[in-house]
């Protein structure tokens, strides 16, 4: 059974905060979204690999890195899931890790789709 996503109902990112973070610079935003899309597959696969290998340190490091990355977009649900995974890895409690990782992957996918949509919106 798949648990309901924690982020149900909550937007993938806080649009207002996000615009403050890029200082209203849409070109910068587009560039950052491109960088995230380039970077996230590697980070997610690091997470999967660390979890499969029961590598708590590796998992903690990758979750931390992903949290840092999505944090730039005021993406609270994704950041929260990454933080939870990071905490689980630190405590060595990897039992619920796979479910949490699956959620995180879905959430990052949603974040990237919504960000792409925002980038395509006409400015103004």
């Amino acid at each position: 059974m798949i648990p309901p996503p924690l982020s149900a109902g909550e937007p993938a990112f806080d649009a207002e905060d996000l615009l403050v973070r890029v200082d209203g610079d849409r070109a910068l935003l587009v560039e950052l979204v491109g960088l995230l899309r380039g970077e996230s597959p590697r980070l997610l696969s690091d997470l999967r690999r660390s979890l499969a290998a029961n590598d708590g340190r590796g998992l903690q490091r990758a979750a931390h890195a992903l949290r840092g990355s999505v944090g730039n977009f005021a993406a609270r649900p994704a950041a929260r899931l990454a933080l939870e995974l990071e905490a689980m890895a630190r405590e060595g409690e990897l039992a619920g890790g796979a479910a949490r990782l699956a959620e995180l992957e879905r959430e990052v996918g949603r974040l990237e789709r919504d960000l792409a949509r925002l980038c395509e919106e006409p400015a103004g």
């Binding site: 890029v22 200082d23 910068l28 950052l32 970077e39 490091r61 931390h64 840092g68 990355s69 944090g71």
Partner: protein, 302 residues
């Protein structure tokens, strides 16, 4: 100012870089700790660094510790961290980081923290400049820019020591401007000062980079010529004499013919004591004055 930004996450790196540039700074961007350290240790490296705590290879703490091994110039380090636990803060301070910036950073906070950093960097640069100026003042003659008396004696002591250990010859020359008192009395001290300055420049121009030239007293100069035997030293002294006498020196609109008398004393290992060398050069100088000035006399020191 130039600011180093070190972050392995491309998204965070780009956003930080963009914000720092927006604040009017120049960014030196690197993606890991080893690169950061190399950039910071360069002589003209950035004096302010924003280091991500977690980086592959060397992390921010390790870079900070390594940079602190060097005494000067100081690098102001801001650690970038998503960690907000107390023990993390303590280990950051233990590594001698100056400040922290929490990820994801806030632009206003970044600006404020960079300002504190800039203030500290500027303060230290001012202190270093003052220290350099004091060092020059303490070791050089104010008028001529040559080594002052304590420093030229210091150099002589070192060269005597080197000569005693390593063998080879060492020459000391005392050079005294002829009738200098007359110039001062007739044309005033400004003219006297101008003569001293130009005489010093002319002497310097006849010496090698490895020679030492200092102002020993009023119009008396001490030359220390490492590796110079009696024959070579007499030649050098002869060139100095000729260079001074070749054409008049300028003092304002005045053209003053000035000459110099030189006493040369050479020693070889085991070297004579500095005092004995100077005394011998002084005897030779006395003889040059007695025999009509504008000439070189040499003696061999024990």
């Amino acid at each position: 100012m130039r600011i180093l930004v070190a972050d392995d996450d491309p998204v965070s790196h780009r956003r930080l870089e963009s914000a720092v540039v927006r604040l009017g700074h120049e960014v030196v961007g690197v993606a890991d700790g080893a690169e950061a350290l190399a950039a910071l240790l360069r002589p003209d490296g950035p004096r302010l660094a924003i280091l991500d705590w977690m980086m592959p290879g060397l992390d921010g703490l390790e870079v900070c510790r390594a940079v602190r091994q060097r005494a000067a110039p100081y690098v102001y380090v801001i650690l970038l961290t998503a960690r907000d636990r107390r023990e993390d803060m303590v280990s950051g301070l233990d590594a001698e980081a100056d400040d922290f910036l929490t990820k994801p950073f806030d632009a206003l906070e970044l600006r404020a923290r960079l300002r504190s950093g800039e203030r500290v960097v500027e303060l230290q640069e001012g202190l270093l400049r003052a220290q350099d100026a004091l060092r020059v003042q303490a070791t050089h003659d104010h008028l001529t820019g040559l080594w002052n008396r304590p420093m030229i004696l210091d150099q002589l002591g070192r060269e005597v020591h080197r000569c005693a250990r390593g063998g080879g010859a060492l020459t000391v020359v005392l050079a005294d401007l002829d009738h200098f008192k007359l110039i001062n009395d007739t044309y005033g001290h400004d003219a006297g000062d101008a003569v001293l300055k130009q005489a010093a420049e002319r002497m310097r121009s006849e010496l090698r980079d490895c020679d030492f030239l200092g102002r020993y007293g009023g119009e008396e100069f001490l030359l220390v010529l490492p590796g110079c035997d009696a024959a070579a030293a007499t030649q050098v002294a002869g060139r100095v004499r000729a260079r001074l006498a070749a054409e008049p020196l300028c003092a304002g609109k005045l053209r003053l013919a000035v000459s110099v008398s030189l006493g040369v004393a050479t020693t070889s290992a085991p070297a004579a004591e500095p005092d004995a060398l100077i005394k011998a050069a002084d005897c030779a100088l006395y003889r040059a004055k007695a025999r009509g000035r504008n000439r070189v006399e040499a003696v061999a020191a024990a």
